[in-house]
């Protein structure tokens, strides 16, 4: 018995020494480590709930990850083999795609191995805080670093970001088909000051569209893009632009937000018809599109590419971007078929094929067709594939369908302007029940105009008629500064203190400088001639350009001048006596000089001449004609005086007839 008792005692002791003591030590160690991690903030609060639950969770997660690991390994190996096969077949694109998929599988397998060996055991020990650091904070930090890198390097083309004076470019956006590169950047403080002194305020972030001749952009592309800069500047769509020997760029405000196409995709995720708030949101977007169009049309601009991808849903409403095809409504250019199919009126193609000019059509109506197609896309989630005959397949209010059809109808029947369409949409927005709203209740069909819509429309119209606010000295809580004297500024507590004295001083200084320079030139000339007279030297005959003999070069040209049109003389003034001669022959002829063109017209014309010269086309090129007809004060022919190819000192006339 004693032996038996001793044996049991020994076994008990062994059990205590081998099991209980180590277990106790482990438990104490865990508690100590846990305490340390808790003090360090690395332990999850939920880890207090220890015990069977945690073990069960560990078991479940371990089994799941073991299965995942197996699947990932099989996937990675299989895809790796397929990928290598594609490489052997020299199908590089497929090799890259499959290789990328194999890499993803391998990465997932590595994650599973980590969780099996480290993550789950540590969680079992209650060290979830430490695990969270590894699993969440490190990837988050890596993502943040990647995002910063993504923002700072070009995303669509390789190579460094180009240098644009006055702007620090940060990242590249996806470019359209204009031949330019588009960047997001920030203006430098010097540029902000420089433009500020000229009354223009730059936002913090801007979009810079850059055409570089050495990188494939062409002068005609630049010319096309520069046509609407001036009115676009008045709209605040173009903030700055510059043309030098190699590069042309212009700067636009950066509008942050998803495109309307993204919004459409979100609205139609479930493939169900829109109703309730989603439907009202869609109508409100369409209403804002009309507002944007009114802004463009009010400045005499035709956007020409209204589509969801060119509409940004910003915090201030829908904004129309991409000025690549913007054309002055009064342009004398021939219509082109540029635009996006399904959002472009087919009638535009018909007229373009006939050779119709822009100013012979109402471009506003073509933008309205685009607006109707955008509203269709908002309601249906897809573009109108069959033009105005495209049937609606999702349920939507009859009155809204009517608005779409009216916007996409024949030119004669289409809305006359964006305001008319906006009023119809406003009436719909004001309706309590969209579904029961009848087309006959729309304002364009004689229904009442909602008061709010009418007031807004009137206000918006009035705002468009008001010229840009004058920059004056305003005084507010933060002191005095130069800024626009607008109602919004006054609402913010700024008081108009009259004309900015700095600007007034600057103007005076400029006048004085110009006056002093003129006096200096006159005095210097007099002094030089006086000195020559005193020294008895003959004044040097200035090198003169000669006009070609009248009979040889002028008379045939002048015979072609048409009295009913103006004649724009470019290059230098007419030879002595010829103007009188010409006017005696054609008394009704109106003569213009280059100075009669607006500055933008002069620049455009010179650029066009350079383009034509570079392309070896001479001044008779289409570009010159377009630049001239776009900017001339009326219907004119062009009389270009330029050096003869045979004798550079002889000026010969060239007559370029207008349409």
């Amino acid at each position: 018995m004693e032996i038996l008792g001793l044996t049991f005692a020994a076994l008990g002791l062994v059990l205590v020494l081998v099991v209980v003591v180590p277990a106790t030590l482990v438990w104490i160690a865990i508690r100590v480590v846990g305490l340390v991690f808790r003090v360090l903030g690395l332990r999850e609060p939920s880890s207090r709930a220890a015990g069977p639950g945690r073990v069960a969770r560990w078991t479940r997660d371990t089994l799941q990850d073991a299965g995942n690991l197996l699947g990932n390994l099989v996937g990675a190996v299989s895809l790796g083999v397929f990928s290598l096969t594609q490489l052997l077949l020299l199908r590089t694109a497929a090799f890259r795609r499959l290789g990328s998929a194999a890499g993803s599988e391998a990465l997932a397998a590595a994650g599973a191995i980590y969780r099996l060996l480290l993550g789950h055991p540590l969680r079992l020990l209650g060290l979830g805080g430490l695990v969270r650091s590894l699993e969440q904070r490190i990837p988050a930090a890596l993502d943040a670093a990647y995002e910063a890198e993504r923002r700072s390097v070009p995303t669509t083309r390789g190579g460094a970001l180009p240098s644009v004076e006055g702007y620090q470019l940060e990242r590249e956006l996806v470019a359209g088909g204009s031949g330019a590169r588009i960047f997001v950047g920030r203006p430098t403080p010097e540029r902000v000051r420089d433009l500020g002194s000229r009354g223009r305020r730059l936002p913090e972030q801007v979009v810079v569209k850059v055409f570089t001749l050495t990188a494939g952009s062409t002068l005609p592309q630049i010319l096309r893009e520069s046509r609407a800069l001036e009115p676009a500047g008045r709209l605040g769509l173009v903030l700055d632009h510059c043309l030098d020997e190699e590069q042309f760029h212009y700067v636009m405000p950066f509008v942050e937000g998803p495109s309307l196409q993204d919004e459409i995709d979100t609205l139609h995720q479930g493939d169900t018809p829109l109703d309730g708030e989603a439907l009202r949101r869609a109508v409100a977007h369409a209403r804002e599109v009309c507002d944007e169009l009114q802004r463009f049309h009010g400045e005499g601009l035709w956007h020409k590419d209204v589509k969801p991808a060119n509409l940004i849903v910003s915090s201030e409403g829908v904004r129309l971007v991409d000025l690549g095809l913007v054309t002055p409504l009064a342009s004398a250019l021939t219509l082109t078929t540029h635009g996006t199919e399904y959002y472009r009126d087919p009638e535009l193609v018909r007229l373009a094929l006939r050779g119709t000019r822009v100013n012979q059509v109402d471009g506003v109506k073509f933008d309205l067709y685009g607006a109707g197609a955008v509203l269709f896309a908002l309601l249906e989630g897809t573009f109108p594939a069959n033009g105005s005959l495209t049937p609606f397949e999702k349920q939507s209010p009859e009155a809204l369908r009517f608005v779409v059809r009216r916007a996409m109808a024949d030119l004669e029947s289409r809305y006359a302007n964006a305001a008319e369409m906006a009023h119809d949409l406003e009436a719909l927005l004001a309706a309590e029940d969209l579904a029961s709203f009848k087309p006959m209740q729309l304002p364009s069909m004689g229904g009442p105009l909602p008061t709010r819509g009418a007031q807004e429309a009137d206000t918006a119209q009035a705002a468009r008629r008001v010229p840009a606010p004058e920059w004056r000295t305003v005084q507010g809580p933060g002191g005095s500064e130069t800024g626009p004297s607008t109602q919004a500024a006054r609402d913010l507590g700024w008081r108009d203190m009259g004309e900015d004295p700095r600007q007034r001083r600057q103007r005076r200084r400029t006048r004085r400088a110009v006056g002093a320079a003129l006096i200096t030139v006159v005095l210097a000339t007099l002094a030089m001639h006086g000195l020559r007279f005193l020294l008895g030297a003959e004044p040097e005959a200035p090198r003169r350009m000669h006009f070609a003999p009248l009979e040889d070069a002028w008379l045939p040209v002048l015979d072609g001048v048409r009295a009913e049109r103006g004649l724009l003389v470019l290059g230098c003034s007419l030879p002595e006596g010829l103007e009188e001669d010409l006017l005696a022959r054609l008394p009704d002829l109106r003569l213009w000089t280059e100075a009669d063109l607006p500055p933008a017209g002069q620049a455009a014309l010179r650029l066009a001449l350079e383009v034509s010269q570079a392309q070896g086309e001479g001044p008779h090129s289409e570009e010159v004609r377009r630049a001239l007809w776009d900017h001339a004060p009326g219907p004119v022919d062009l009389l270009l005086l330029e050096p003869s190819a045979l004798d550079r000192e002889v000026l010969v006339p060239r007559l370029i007839l207008g349409p």
């Binding site: 087919p346 069959n386 005959l389 059809r405 109808a409």
Partner: protein, 250 residues
């Protein structure tokens, strides 16, 4: 060949931009759909667009040499030009990949890799293609009527006939009486009959082309008793086109 067809071919031959636009507007979508089908993922959307343009360019060359005595249907003729345009493109691509074991796209007909060809060597139009061509011609007539009738009258016909609503419903929606709805619908119907005659006449290279209208219940001779049947047939063609396009896109 019908006089209208001769006239239209004449306009095409004289490069009348309106005639060419009409051809592009009517058959452009069909050409794109057909080229995309033939391309079977080998060509992208942009190439399809380019090829549809090239098909019309090729047609511009072919129209001068067109011999009506051969009696080919217009749809078949157009399909043949599209097929040759595509085969040119594929040959060009395969020539670039010479050595990769690619054979040029065959146009000799009846081969395993080119089941769209018939034994005479021309492309074999299938039922879907013929239906698409027919519906495109009806669409062209409707577009013509939409322009001629004006928005308000066409809207009446659209709601009443194409969407199958009752006269009372349309009257309530548009704020007018049922009698006015009937009157406007009758006016548009007359215009549509005329437009169908014109459009089908333009592309009727054979008697079979002409018979398409009657076969589909679109009798173009104005008989009061047949108005309802005519409207029903128009509505049926319209709905059939919607269903077919939905299936093609979905």
């Amino acid at each position: 060949m019908h006089e209208l067809t001769t006239h239209f071919v004449g306009r095409l031959r004289s490069r009348d931009p309106d005639a060419w636009f009409e051809l592009w507007e009517t058959f452009g979508p069909i050409l794109r759909a057909q080229l995309a089908r033939w391309g079977r993922g080998r060509i992208g959307q942009e190439t399809v667009q380019d090829l549809s343009q090239e098909t019309l360019t090729a047609l511009a060359g072919a129209i001068d040499r067109h011999d009506p005595s051969k009696g080919a249907k217009f749809s078949t003729w157009l399909l043949a030009i599209a097929k040759y345009t595509l085969s040119d493109e594929m040959d060009r691509r395969n020539a670039l990949k010479r050595g990769a074991g690619k054979r040029p796209l065959s146009l000799s007909g009846g081969t395993e890799d080119d089941p769209d060809m018939d034994v005479e060597g021309g492309p074999r139009p299938d039922v879907d293609y013929e239906a698409a061509v027919f519906e495109a011609k009806v669409d062209a007539a409707l577009r013509q009527v939409e322009r001629a009738a004006g928005f308000a009258d066409f809207e009446v016909y659209r709601q009443r006939v194409l969407e199958g609503r009752s006269g009372r419903e349309v009257g309530e929606a548009l704020g007018t009486s049922e009698a006015t709805i009937s009157r406007k619908a009758a006016r548009v119907r007359d215009l549509l009959r005329e437009a169908l005659t014109q459009v089908f006449g333009r592309y009727a290279f054979t008697d079979e082309d002409w018979d398409e209208l009657t076969r589909n219940g679109l009798e173009t001779s104005p008989k009061k008793a047949q108005d309802a049947a005519f409207d029903e047939a128009v509505g049926e063609v319209w709905m059939r086109a919607v269903r077919r396009r939905r299936q093609a896109s979905g």
